[in-house]
């Protein structure tokens, strides 16, 4: 049995590890990006000099051979679904019995004038990072467009190099689609405290390019012009479907899969960032582009690769991020504003905050947002799964804290 995986990101690698755990099939992982799996989430630390590329590799280089995982550095241009093989740019053909497409994402671009000029880029791959390194060496001011998680990382990266950063965000307040107003303002002050100019309610119109073909300024729709010879475009990512498209595998926004991760083509599966569920799970998006979801989908798709596909049930939603020095964790369902039948409680001491959303009818908690406070995942999972009420949660709140010893507690009480 030959199993081939395109993409050595967290999804592909997790799938490979779980297949290996269960069977001694031949497993080949193809990637056009790096020779070994690395943590994309750590790209910013390489740029800031906190880590080297080597340090972002979750497994030692010997790990792969020792576990019989064959690695191929090459770009897959097409899947020959009839002959069951993957065709690489080099012309090499890798044949499979079962194939997993875990091709990840690509940064969005929206057809702005100047978006392909030198000094304009998104940040997704290691190559993007190298490009960013090369094109920011002599930069004194830069613009980052897009207030998502990658945008704020780009702003931090540039700021640590002493570059003047203008952070252009379309929303009227930071992440208004996700956060409550008080939470937005916590993040906004965290960003501003680091000398970044945060422009809210601002939208990109075009990028001005100098004679040499390099970006020199950014124009906003309100007519303002912001100097900056580097423009970070962090306006979201979309599934990478070029390979599927070239191979006649059905795709929409992403590569279309059922809840068993099966694509339209037999023996070809897709999972992780690149996959779009034909029928989204209740309360979830059809495409989930997270490290955590990639890991849990990778684990689940392994069953399919082993020949007995199992229906996926997304685990309890959780995520975490860091806005400069401000840590953020979320578990369960926490809408920006509560809807009918929901209520919320919010506590803050000006630097940290907790927001708990619960059902009005029976006080059962639905989710929590925490800023500057570390929460214990297993306790929250337990509470959310077992329908704990707000009173129960507040009574046992100490149990869910995961802050370092000696941290002063923030008062959280009904």
């Amino acid at each position: 049995m030959r199993i081939v995986i395109v993409g050595n990101g967290i999804t592909g690698v997790t799938a490979a590890r779980h297949v290996r755990k269960a069977a001694d099939h031949s497993i080949t992982i193809i990637s056009g990006e790096t020779d070994f799996h690395f943590a994309r989430t750590a790209l910013m630390y390489i740029y800031m000099g906190d880590l080297r590329y080597e340090d972002t590799k979750p497994y030692a280089d010997e790990f792969w051979a020792r576990n019989g995982l064959e690695l191929v550095l090459g770009h897959a241009v097409r899947v020959d679904t009839a002959a069951r093989c993957v065709v690489l740019a080099s012309g090499e053909r890798v044949s499979y019995d079962r194939l997993l497409l875990a091709t990840g994402s690509v940064p969005n671009r929206f057809g702005w004038e100047g978006e392909y000029a030198e000094g304009v880029q998104g940040l997704y791959s290691l190559q993007d990072l190298e490009r960013m390194e090369a094109s920011t060496t002599d930069v004194t001011s830069a613009v980052v467009v897009g207030g998502g998680l990658i945008g704020v990382e780009m702003a931090e990266m540039l700021a640590t190099r002493g570059i003047d950063v203008t952070f252009v965000v379309r929303e009227q307040r930071y992440m208004e689609y996700l956060l409550a107003p008080d939470e937005s303002s916590l993040v906004e002050s965290a960003i501003r405290a680091h000398g970044v100019t945060l422009e809210l309610g601002a939208e990109l119109k075009r990028i001005e390019v100098d004679e040499a073909g390099r970006a020199c300024a950014t124009h906003l729709t309100d007519g303002r012009r912001i100097e900056g010879s580097f423009v970070g475009l962090a306006v979201g990512v979309r599934p990478r479907i070029d390979l599927a498209k070239a191979s006649g595998i059905e795709s929409g926004l992403g590569i279309l899969v059922d809840d068993h991760f099966r694509t339209s083509t037999e023996n070809v599966f897709a999972a992780g960032d690149c996959a779009e569920f034909r029928k989204p799970f209740p309360g979830r998006k059809p495409v989930e582009q997270l490290w955590y979801t990639g890991r849990s989908q990778g684990r689940q798709v392994a069953a399919g690769l082993l020949g007995s596909p199992q229906a996926y049930e997304p685990p309890l939603f959780f995520n975490s991020a860091k806005f400069f020095d401000l840590e953020y964790q979320t578990y369960g369902i926490v809408p920006a504003a509560v809807s009918e039948g929901q209520q919320e409680q919010f506590w803050t001491d000006g630097e940290r905050s907790i927001r708990i959303v619960y059902r009005s009818a029976d006080q059962v908690v639905l989710g929590v947002n925490a800023f500057g406070i570390r929460l214990r995942q297993n306790v929250w999972s337990h509470w959310l799964r077992n329908g704990a009420t707000l009173d129960r949660v507040l009574a046992g709140f100490d149990q869910c804290l995961f802050d370092p010893e000696f941290t002063l507690r923030m008062e959280v009480a009904a």
Binding site: I10, R17, H18, K21, G32, T34, A39, T41, A42, Y45, I46, Y47, M48, G49, D50, L51, R52, Y53, E54, D55, T56, K57, P58, A60, F63, R66, P107, L126, Q127, E130, E133, T160, R161, G162, A193, D242, R295, S296, E313, P315, F318, S320, F324, D325, E327, Q329, E351, R374, L375, R376, Q377, N378, S381, R385, F402, D403, P404, E405, F406, T407
Partner: protein, 516 residues
């Protein structure tokens, strides 16, 4: 569509851009040093040459930060450090014969200390604080660049002089006399001089650590503890005791780190026991009680950290002066294997040695004859001097600050065995929150591959963990927490976790470690 460009070279981290001026200065200094070694005194003036080498080296170290890095900090701080070093070097070279040495030394040391604090304040003192490891791998002084090698050579050289050629340090030793007389009424010797500078380094770099980690209360308390432990228990108290005609006893060290405290006869305990002061017997008994009761009990409750990163003098220096070098510890499985062999080897050696010495002493020298003194001396020399000092501290800029603690310390071996097999301490992993970024593994000064455990949702229970808490501090996702809790469940992942949030693969772990 994005085009994947396989022709782009894979990044191996940002280029190490030693500033050109630093390279030139370090190069010149090296050249002058070589010239001096070969006895070709070009200026016919050795002191001038020594001064020139020192000046160039220190200038190189100071100049060595990539430009554009906001952490480069205050000009005042740098000038003070550089000026202080320069002044000290010139003074050593004998340029100001008329001014008393102790004034020169006070001025130069004071300037360096003040500069360090000013710089730390400028770098870490603003805003609300947070982890600032930016530029660590692009700063040659911190990432085994040329200047780091030079610093290691200078440091190692200092230890060589201290242990084998103390007379060459006579000048510095004499300048400490005023402190020595004040504290204990006798002139300074090389060890008093060493202890003074050691404690000063812990204090000043401790203040730096307090600025650097001020957002983290665990780190703050721990840093205060190491400053006080070194300053009081390992410096002031022993000398004050000596001034009162008691044995110069270090309450923060005991067998087997200070094996002589339990060795018979004149090598240690006998001398303390029979000391004319009134506390000698108390000290010997105290040492034995700490070794055999205090260590197991405290380690059961708090893990090895109560000692290694809160009290021990080696830890005090590592956690302060060694803080900039945490990331240099090698985290490969190979070095873990070497570490286990070496540290337990030393433990066996010192235990065996202690037993033999006692048997010999019970037989009134019948077993070893005059050789027993030889064993005590050789052990003290190899482990006390060469390993702990020369390699342990001299190699800070190359191998991190815990080389001795990891590979050579018998005390760490005992504490580690207890911590591994019978202690309430562990580092808890927060479910499936790990993003495998590698900050924890990189900044673990003991070279523990923390990420290996974290990314599979497993608690970290390792003999070598000193509980410095740095993995938890640097983790950007709040995945790690140092805890003392019940023995149950410490070796497994958290019980409530369902396999959705975390996946565990036992096989590859077993495959990578032959020892279990």
């Amino acid at each position: 569509m994005e085009r994947l460009d396989p022709t782009l070279a894979l990044a191996s981290g940002p280029s190490k851009s030693t500033s050109r001026s630093a390279q030139v200065m370090a190069g010149l200094a090296l050249l002058l040093g070589v010239v001096y070694l070969f006895g070709l005194h070009p200026f016919n003036q050795p002191p001038v040459l020594v001064a020139a080498v020192g000046l160039l080296l220190s200038a190189a170290v100071i100049a060595d930060r990539p430009s554009g890095d906001p952490l480069s900090g205050s000009r005042l701080g740098k000038s003070l450090i550089f000026g202080g070093l320069a002044f000290g070097v010139l003074a050593l070279a004998g340029l100001w014969r008329v001014i008393p040495d102790w004034i020169l030394l006070t001025v130069s040391t004071g300037a360096v200390c003040a500069g360090t604090v000013v710089l730390a304040r400028a770098r870490y003192g603003h805003g609300s604080g947070g982890i600032r490891n930016h530029g660590v791998f692009t700063t040659p002084m911190l990432s085994r660049g040329g200047v780091a090698w030079i610093a290691a050579i200078v440091l190692t050289g200092f230890y060589v002089l201290l242990y084998w050629f103390p007379q060459s340090l006579e000048g510095i030793i004499r300048t400490i006399d005023p402190i020595s007389y004040t504290l204990r009424g006798v002139p300074s010797d090389q060890w008093f001089m060493y202890g003074t500078f050691y404690s000063l380094a812990v204090l000043v770099m401790g203040v730096r650590a307090l600025y650097r980690y001020r957002h983290d209360r665990y780190q703050r308390w721990r840093t205060v503890s190491v400053i006080l432990a070194q300053g009081f228990l390992a410096y002031l108290l022993p000398h004050i005791l000596a001034a009162f005609n008691e044995p110069e006893f270090y309450f923060s060290y005991f067998w087997p780190l200070k094996p002589e405290y339990l060795w018979p006869g004149d090598f240690g305990s006998g001398w303390i026991w029979n000391h004319p002061g009134r506390l000698g017997r108390f000290m010997v008994i105290w040492g034995a009680v700490i070794s055999f009761v205090g260590v197991p009990v405290l380690t059961y409750y708090f893990g090895k950290r109560w000692y290694c990163s809160w009290v021990c003098g080696c830890g005090c220096l590592a956690e302060t002066a060694g803080d900039p070098y945490r990331h240099l510890a090698d985290s490969s499985v190979r070095s873990w294997q070497i570490e286990r062999w070496m540290i337990h080897g030393v433990l066996v050696l010192v235990t065996f040695g202690t037993a033999i010495l006692w048997i010999n002493s019970a037989m009134e020298g019948g077993l070893l004859g005059s050789f027993s003194g030889g064993f005590a001396r050789v052990y003290g020399f190899v482990f006390g001097s060469v390993f702990a000092g020369v390699i342990g501290v001299g190699f800070y800029p190359l191998m991190g600050a815990r080389v001795w603690c990891r590979f050579g310390c018998p005390q760490a071996a005992i504490l580690g065995l207890i911590q591994r097999f019978y202690s309430r301490f562990r580092i808890t992993t927060n479910g499936g929150q790990c993003i495998s970024c590698g900050n924890c593994t990189t900044y673990c000064e003991m070279g523990i591959d923390v990420r290996w455990y974290a990314q599979r949702g497993q608690n970290i229970v390792r003999a070598s963990c000193v509980g410095c808490g740095m993995c938890a501090s640097v983790c950007p996702r709040g995945v790690l927490k140092l805890e003392n809790s019940s023995l149950e469940g410490r070796l497994n992942g958290p019980v409530l976790i369902t396999s959705d949030e975390v996946d565990v693969l036992e096989e590859d772990w077993a495959a990578s470690v032959s020892w279990k």
